[in-house]
Every structure is written in C-alpha cells, then in structure tokens.
C-alpha cells in the first residue's frame, strides 16, 4: 500500500502562529533556517487589542492542480509514491504562472535559484506535521476524511484566508 492518498490537513483555529513549521521546513529543504524559503507559510493578520487570525498555508496537492495545468514547460509532475506534486528544476523556467494560478498561494519562486518551489510532503513524512504540537497540521488519509469534513475544512480555511488578506468583520477572533 502506497501513501498515495495522504494530505497535510490544516486547521487554522488550532494554529498558534509559532512558525516552527517554517523553520523546520527550511532546515529540511534548504539546509539553513530561513522562513522565507519555507514551503509552508504561516500568514497572520492581527490588529492588537481586537483580533488575531493566523493561517498556515501549504500545498493541498489538488486533484486537478492548477500549477500543473498552467505550466508551459510541463515542469510539475506527480510523485507516484506520495501523490505530491513536484517541480522539475531542470524544466522550470521561473515564469511564475504557477504562482499566479495557485488558489492558495502555496507555490513560490526561489529568490536565488529562480525556480519554483513547493511542498513535496518530505517524501511522505512531513517535518512540519511532526513539530506541530497544537495539531493544526495533521497528515491524513484522503479517504478517511469524508466529503463533509473536507468541505467544512475548506470553508474554514477560505474564511480565514479572507481575514488574513483583508479586513475582518467586527469581532472576528475565533
């Protein structure tokens, strides 16, 4: 049995914004500690004294990946072992089409290497999930999350993303 069907499930309500996931991600993939180069990003929007919203953003390994669809060089492919969508650095031309197309903002172009980088699920054993004490990140079987849970999860995520991106409705803290 492969790990084909697993994803990193995000619960923004549980995220404490400690950003340890960003640190371990960059240590793992870049060999240095640099949150800017992390594949997972904790976005926060806060007006002190009023509200505090935080959302970890990481690739959801979409069924129909927009990044893959729009890539002019076919640089994005699926890892058969984990179903993670990976970037072929040889093919990537750094055109940013994927960055523009991703609905979550989970793919970026490396400032030095000039090729796209994104979550590769650490080959099926994601470091960020292992360090998330608050369990805002869990690595779960797609089949085990029912349709309802996924829809609810997605709603939560999109609600929070709206809050992070813009001004929240009054009193939105939870």
């Amino acid at each position: 049995m492969t790990q084909r069907s697993k994803v990193i499930l995000v619960d923004p309500d549980k995220c404490t914004s400690c950003k340890q996931c960003e640190k371990v991600c960059s240590l793992k993939h870049e060999g240095e500690c640099n949150p800017e180069l992390s594949r997972i990003k904790v976005l926060r929007n806060e007006i002190m004294g009023q509200y505090f919203v935080t959302v970890p953003v990481v690739c959801q390994q979409c069924e129909i990946p927009m990044c893959m669809e729009v890539c002019p060089t076919g640089a994005i492919y699926e890892d058969p072992a984990t179903s993670a969508k990976l970037v072929d650095k040889e093919r990537c031309i750094g055109c940013r089409m994927c960055v523009i197309s991703c609905p979550l903002g989970a793919i970026e172009v490396h400032p030095v290497k000039h090729t796209a980088f994104k979550c590769d699920l650490c080959g099926g054993d994601p470091e960020c999930v292992k360090i998330c004490l608050a369990e805002a990140l869990t690595y779960v079987d797609k089949d085990k999350i029912g349709f309802k849970e996924r829809r609810e999860g997605l709603k939560k995520l999109s609600d929070r993303l709206v809050l992070v991106a813009g001004m929240p409705a009054d009193g939105a803290t939870e």
């Binding site: 400690c18 240095e32 640099n34 976005l43 002190m48 004294g49 009023q50 004490l133 803290t173 939870e174």
Partner: protein
C-alpha cells in the same frame, strides 16, 4: 563564525542618524552572544554616572547564539540599558520571546546598539541591509495597539517585527515598558521616550546558516515527544481526579503558576503582603476564567504559552505576567475588570506588577486612614475596586493628577504621601516585589538580593513543593528531584524552599542557568520543563555552530555576563549595602496557611550572602569582585578601569 551568527553588530546614532556595522566575531570569541555580549557592550559604551535619560545611555538589543536557527524555543532577544526605575539607577535588562530576535538575525545582525537622541519622534526600520529613520510624529501619543497597526500599514508588510513604546514611555513614566507582541517585562521604556524613539522595526529575509540541520530537526522532535507525554499524563491525571484543565502544554508543564503551587497556598499572599486565607480566592482561579474567555493559544515556539483572551465590550489582549495575582493583591473578584486593566497596561506600555503592588499599597494606606480619597484625585482606594485600579493606570500613563508623582516611581509618591506611607512601602531600591513570598523561600530571597538587575524575584531557583507534588500524585517526580539535589548540591535541603543549607550553590546554578538561556537566546521554559538540562544545550550549540562546547565553558560565559553586569553597578557606586531586601521579610512572620510563622533569619541570611560572595570571588565586605576574579575571566581591562575609580576591593594582608 560560519554558522549560527548573523555576522554583524549594528550601531545606530540617533543624534546624527549615522549607522555603522562591525563584525560580531570581535565580541563573540570572548563573550559568545546574547546577554553576555550585551553586558560587555553596555559596560564599554557607557560611562559612570550617565543617567538613564541621557543621550549617552546606550540601548543594546541582542539576539542570542541559537536564535533563528530553528532550535525549539530559540526565539528570544535581550534589551540592555540603564534602568530608569531603580533608585538609584543601575543596570537594566529585559528579555522577551517573539519574532524580533529571529528577524534581527535574518536581517544580518546579532546585536543593535542605539545611542544619542533624535531631534523629533522617529522610528527605526531595519530592512536587511537598509536602515531607515522614519518620522514617528503620527505615532507619537498613540498606544501600543494602534502603533503596531499603523506601522504595519505604513510599511505594507504584516510580517515586520516591532518593538515599541506606548504613551507611558513617551511621557518618561519610569515604569513604562518596551512592548513586543503582547510581551513586555522589566520597565525600560522611558529610555526610548527620552531618545524620541517610538519603535524599532525589523524585517529580515536572509536566514541563518547552521552546521547540522538534520541534528536540529531530530533534537526538536525529541523535545516535542517529552512535552507531548507530559501533556498526556497531565490530562489523564486531571480526568482521573475530576480536576478542571486546559489542554494546553503550558498548564501541563506547570508554567502557569497560578493554578499550580500558588493556589496550593504555599508561596503567595493576598492583599498587601497579608495571609493567603481569603474566602474569595476560588472566584479568581485561572482555569475557569480562561475556559470562558480564552479564544486562541499563541506563542513563539510550539509550547505557545500565551492565551489570547477576549472579553465582549472590552476587546482582545492577553493576561500577562500572571495577572491573576492582581485579583489577589487587590481582593478583586471581577476577572473581566482585571483583564481590562491588563489590557490597558499592554496598550499604554506599562508594567503590570509596577501597578499591582503600588495599588495594593495605596489600598492598604486607605484602609489604615493614612491617605484619603483626596490623595488620589477623589477616587477612594477601596479594596477590590476595579475602578480604582483603572484610575491609577490612566493617571500614571498620562501623568495626570496624583499619577504624575507615581510616574516618577512609587518611592517618589511615598515621599510625597509622608513618612507613614513610606514606612509601609516594601521595596528594594524603588522596585516593589510581586506576590512571590520570600519568607519561605530563602533561595529566592538570596537570588533577589544579589540580582544585578534589581529584579523582583529570582524564581529560576531550583526548588520543589513537596506538599503540592504529593497532592497531585507526582511522588515519583519528588523522589527524582531529591535524588538530583543530593547529587548536585550534596543535600536535599538545597531544594526545600525554606531551608538555608546548600542554597548558595543552588542560587549560583540558577544564575548560570538564567544567563546561559539568555546568552543562547533560548526560552528557559523549554529546557527546564521538557526535562532537558546542560548536555542538551551543548548538543544544540554543536548542531548550530559546529563547535564543541563544554558545560564549564558555558558557565564561564554566564559568569562573564554576570560579572560585567555587576561591574557596571560597582562603577556606579553600588556596594553590599545596595544588595539588601526589605526588613519586612525578617520581622513579620507569615500570618496563616501551611507556612504560618515562617520568617527570614537575618543572621543566617547574611551568612548565605557572605558565602555567596566568597564562592563568586567577590569581596564580602563591599560585594565588589576582586581583581583576580576579573583576571581569571580574562577581563583585565574591566579591572583596570575600576581600579582607576578605586572600585576594586583592597587586598588584605597575606597571612
């Protein structure tokens, strides 16, 4: 130097807006990092007698060796400057976790030294290599919350890390704080106000190079599993014993002192240093309040020890510095009101404890008829009055009415209110204690009296509360603690709070522990409560820098930090006379509770101090470090400069 460090020390002069950078290495090889380099810079960059509000008083911000490396809990910065709160002024230091320390290093700086005075209100924006001096006239007069919002808006970047002062700091209120993401601590904010410095903002995107990333990942996971197990055990124990609990690690680890041993009535008091037996105590328990009002857990490492609280009609903020103690000190049962007061302090940028104890004192004076409502702008200082508390906060922060005198320090207000009021004020060099008990904690009392920063209480001290551990089914932990104490200190008495034997060693260990944490920039909760000690710090240092350190070496760096802080105070003219705690602790026995009747023994206490100075290599008569002690640490230059001022102890005749 290749790994771990950001590389540069940034020097900023506000007077002429000049900037320079020098390599960290010049200091790192002798002082390692964080608080030790801060102490060295502080000693060098200032001269004797330069007041806290003088442009020549430097502000030094340091991020420790491990900060930004990805090591669990390595997120702290330390701010060193002359304390405007102490009477007379002395060495001041405050540390805090958050995003400032890591971002500072990602921007390329291990330390930032700020001197001079800006002509008009400004804030500094450090964006990697670029240093911008920005106009802060639109921010002047604004609270911390608004200041943070406006800066983020102006810079168009929600990720910037901000240190700022509120209105209190601007108005040179001596108990004003420097605030960072709801964190504050020791009051040093007025120094920034005197410099016309509203905020220091940093954004770094460069990252920190580390020697062994895989090892860091492995250590983090190891530590996490220990914490996870503690949390699981705690929740199970609470369920089995029908206790209310919060499923957050900090409670499991006993970080939240309130529902732990304080409520066990062992080491706290209510009112103005009165007994613990207060019938309404139950109404002020932390867990039920948090269950009702806490909306989010946040923090700077996976332990995430901050609870965001929201009270309808008041707003959102945190209950910082265990302000559940406020209700105890003021007999205040309205927890929402207590939160409102805390939130105000966070916004004005004032230290909680510097409000709580003085208000408790005022309420005692009011009860005793020493003051009337006329002394406090017509607001009666009645026990339990949230309105009185809030009136004090507003008037201090805005320097209005009687608060103007309190803004210059509680001792200043006491002198105005007369000798009776002053006689009742329990303080040490103008700093009031919080609700931590000294009379059954000899080590805490000793550590506090010799503390170089004139701290309120040295609670790093290694000790255990037997009754509490037994009551919570942790006999095993107790046995382990005693075994450890026998091994380290030679006697279990060293960790029994009210004993005198073995305490000096315990306090010295605590001083090392505290400073090593501050040099490495790692939150001491993490190693302490995850059950990790010295060797783990060494592993972390190796993984980050590639250098093999020994425990002895780390202790030496800690000792250097301590002696430089001490040397600053010696240069200012302090001696053993300044290392006292209030007579109250020797005279008034604990009135009730399990420790009823305990009081500190003056002779035994002074003997502990003699022993402390001897072990440290300091002269017991003056408390000044001896020349050979400086020399042993390679600080001949410091000894020389003190010699010229006549601040080295006289060498006794050789016998």
């Amino acid at each position: 130097m290749k790994y771990g460090y950001a590389g540069s020390i940034l020097r900023i002069n506000l007077t002429d807006e000049s900037v320079s950078k020098t390599p960290t290495w010049e200091y790192a090889r002798n002082f390692l990092g964080g608080r030790a380099i801060n102490a060295k810079l502080m000693f060098e960059e200032s001269e004797a007698g330069v007041s806290a509000f003088d442009p020549g008083n430097p502000v030094i911000i340091g991020a420790g060796l491990l900060v930004g490396s990805g090591v669990f809990g390595a997120v702290r910065h330390e701010i060193t400057t002359r304390s405007p709160e102490q009477v007379p002024e002395g060495f001041g230091n405050v540390g805090s976790g958050g995003t400032f320390g890591p971002q500072m290093k990602y921007a390329g700086y291990d330390h930032i030294v700020i001197k001079g005075k800006a002509k008009k209100p400004i804030y500094i924006y450090i964006e990697n290599d670029e240093i911008h001096f920005r106009d802060a006239s639109a921010l002047w007069g604004k609270g911390i919350f608004e200041t943070n919002r406006l800066i983020r808006e102006e810079l168009g970047d929600p990720e910037v890390a901000i240190l700022a002062i509120g209105q209190a700091g601007e108005r040179l209120v001596r108990i004003a704080t420097i605030e960072h993401e709801y964190r504050s601590g020791t009051a040093l904010g007025a120094v920034w106000g005197a410099k016309n410095l509203k905020a220091v903002v940093v954004r770094g995107t460069k990252g920190v190079k580390v020697y062994d990333p895989e090892k860091i990942l492995e250590m983090n996971k190891q530590m996490l599993s220990i914490i996870e197990k503690k949390l699981k055990d705690y929740i199970e124990w609470c369920k089995a014993n029908g206790r209310e609990y919060l499923p957050y690690p900090k409670y499991a680890l006993g970080v939240d002192a309130v529902d732990e041993y304080l409520v066990q009535q062992e080491k706290a008091f209510t009112g103005y240093f009165k007994g613990i037996e207060w019938p309404d105590l139950e109404k002020t328990r932390a867990v039920p309040f948090l269950k009702k009002r806490m909306v989010k857990q946040t923090g700077c490492c996976p332990l995430s020890c901050i609870g965001i609280i929201k009270v309808p009609g008041v707003g959102t903020s945190v209950m910082r510095c265990d302000p559940f103690w406020w209700p105890w000190q003021l007999y205040l049962t309205d927890m929402d009101k207590a939160f409102e007061a805390t939130r105000l302090c966070s916004d004005y940028g004032i230290d909680n404890q510097d409000i709580a104890t003085p208000v408790s004192w005022l309420m005692q004076l009011y009860e005793d008829g020493i003051i009337t409502a006329d002394d406090t702008d017509g607001v009666p200082m009645e026990w339990g009055s949230g309105d009185a508390l809030i009136h004090v906060i507003h008037s201090v922060a805005n320097r209005k009415g009687f608060g103007d005198a309190l803004a210059d320090g509680v001792l200043n207000l006491a002198k105005k209110l007369g000798p009776k009021a002053e006689a009742l004020l329990i303080h040490r060099r103008g700093i009031v204690p919080n609700s931590d008990e000294f009379r059954n904690q000899t080590g805490v009392a000793l550590g506090t009296s010799v503390d170089t920063t004139c701290g309120r209480e040295n609670w790093y001290h290694d000790q255990i509360w037997e009754k509490h551990l037994k009551e919570t089914g942790r006999e095993k932990e107790l046995e382990e603690a005693y075994a450890r104490a026998r091994e380290i200190y030679g006697t279990e008495k060293a960790i029994i709070p009210w004993e005198y034997e073995g305490k000096v060693r315990g306090v010295i260990e605590a001083e090392y522990f505290e400073r090593i944490s501050d040099i490495l920039g790692r939150c001491f909760f993490v190693p302490k409560y995850a059950g990790h000690t010295g060797p783990i710090e060494l592993e972390a240092c190796k993984a980050v820098t590639g250098i093999d350190f020994t425990e002895e070496q780390l202790n030496t760096y800690a000792e250097k930090a301590l002696i430089l802080e001490k040397a600053y105070n010696v240069r200012e003219g302090f001696d053993r006379e300044d290392e006292k705690i209030h007579d109250f602790w020797f005279k008034e026995p604990i009135p009730d509770g399990p420790h009823k009747g305990r009081v500190l023994d003056k002779a035994k206490f002074e003997k502990m101090k003699d022993e402390y100075y001897e072990v440290r290599g300091w002269d017991p008569e003056t408390s000044w470090p001896k020349r050979e002690t400086y020399e042993r640490l390679g600080l001949e230059d410091v000894a020389e400069s003190l010699e010229k001022l006549g601040k080295l102890p006289k060498t006794k005749k050789q016998s």
